[in-house]
């Protein structure tokens, strides 16, 4: 096939991308940084879906496309499949990955472990959550780009209420 790079290079690139967009390009505008990162993910997902659907027959409905994302697409990207897929049968899907690879090395701030006073630790926790969530815009964009290329416009958001598990909520636009 093509040439390969080591996974640590990709990890480093992603970390640096989030850091640059959040701290340098859009220093005090996290919403703009988030949108930009998500747009990069959109283009990557668009191109990756082109490559990974090459040898397959076409999908007959939305559920098959979502299952493709959960199984083959996720395996190509993260060497594992999505662990749990839920749907409300009305256009919303929740893809749960119990150990999301790109978050597996994010450290939890040790000052949270002390629990001295409620207020400072709550503030610190939300800052950690915000920092982590910036790293999730890229995979959300990838999912959105892949599904859009398969003809399914949607909105994707991430939920990190229990790390290292991560859930991606896909809402298909009617």
């Amino acid at each position: 096939m093509g040439r390969e790079v080591s996974e640590s290079c990709v990890d480093g690139l992603l970390t640096e991308m989030v850091s640059t967009y959040c701290n340098r390009f859009y220093a005090n505008k996290p919403e703009l940084a988030a949108r930009r990162i998500e747009a990069i993910g959109y283009q990557v997902g668009h191109q990756l879906s082109e490559r990974y659907t090459m040898e397959r027959p076409r999908f007959s409905d939305h559920l098959e496309a979502i299952k493709f994302i959960c199984k083959d697409f996720w395996s190509e990207l993260f060497k594992k499949q999505i662990d749990n897929l839920k749907t409300n049968h009305r256009g919303t899907f929740v893809l749960q990955d119990n150990r999301f690879r790109w978050l597996s090395r994010i450290s939890v701030d040790p000052s949270l472990e002390n629990g001295e006073a409620q207020d400072p630790s709550a503030v610190a926790e939300s800052k950690a959550a915000q920092a982590t969530s910036m790293h999730l815009y890229f995979p959300c964009g990838i999912i959105r780009g892949a599904l859009s290329n398969l003809g399914i416009p949607c909105a994707v958001s991430a939920d990190i209420s229990n790390l290292p598990a991560c859930s991606f909520v896909v809402r298909i636009k009617a």
Partner: protein, 143 residues
């Protein structure tokens, strides 16, 4: 002999069209490609006679005109590949093989970060790969 290949996007916008004859018939070939898009849409939206081949990417012979045969291929991302050939006896396996290699070249061209999705493919590498695939069409049939 292949006279024309074309890549058409999912909104029926042309992404790449290349003819391989010396004659000045480019317009006629473009017209043939354009007409074949309707046939592709009809094949995909009419499942009644397709049966088991409903979701296959290779659509087969779309329609024969007096001089040409037109073959179609529809990817998962609704991109259509059209092949126009003047050969009289073309083997199914050859055409499938052609489309498989063409699809691989297309995927590589689209993965270029400087390619804007929806705009025409301007990569010279893609053009070279396509002309290589076209030249080896039908020649590798050892049977």
């Amino acid at each position: 002999m292949i006279v024309c290949v074309a890549v058409v996007g999912h909104q029926n916008n042309p992404l790449y069209i290349q003819s391989f004859t010396e004659e000045d018939d480019a317009l006629k070939l473009h017209h043939i490609v354009h007409c074949s898009l309707d046939v592709v849409d009809e094949r995909v939206n009419n499942p009644k006679k397709s049966g088991p081949t409903l979701n296959e990417t290779f659509l087969g012979l779309l329609y024969p005109t007096e001089n040409y045969k037109v073959y179609g291929y529809l990817t998962n991302t609704k991109v259509k590949f059209i092949l126009v050939t003047t050969d009289l006896d073309v083997r199914d396996a050859d055409v499938r093989n052609f489309f498989r290699r063409f699809h691989a070249a297309y995927v590589d061209a689209v993965s270029n970060p400087f390619h804007v999705p929806g705009k025409k493919i301007t990569s010279k590498t893609f053009a070279e790969r396509v002309s290589t695939i076209v030249k080896s069409f039908g020649l590798s049939s050892a049977g």
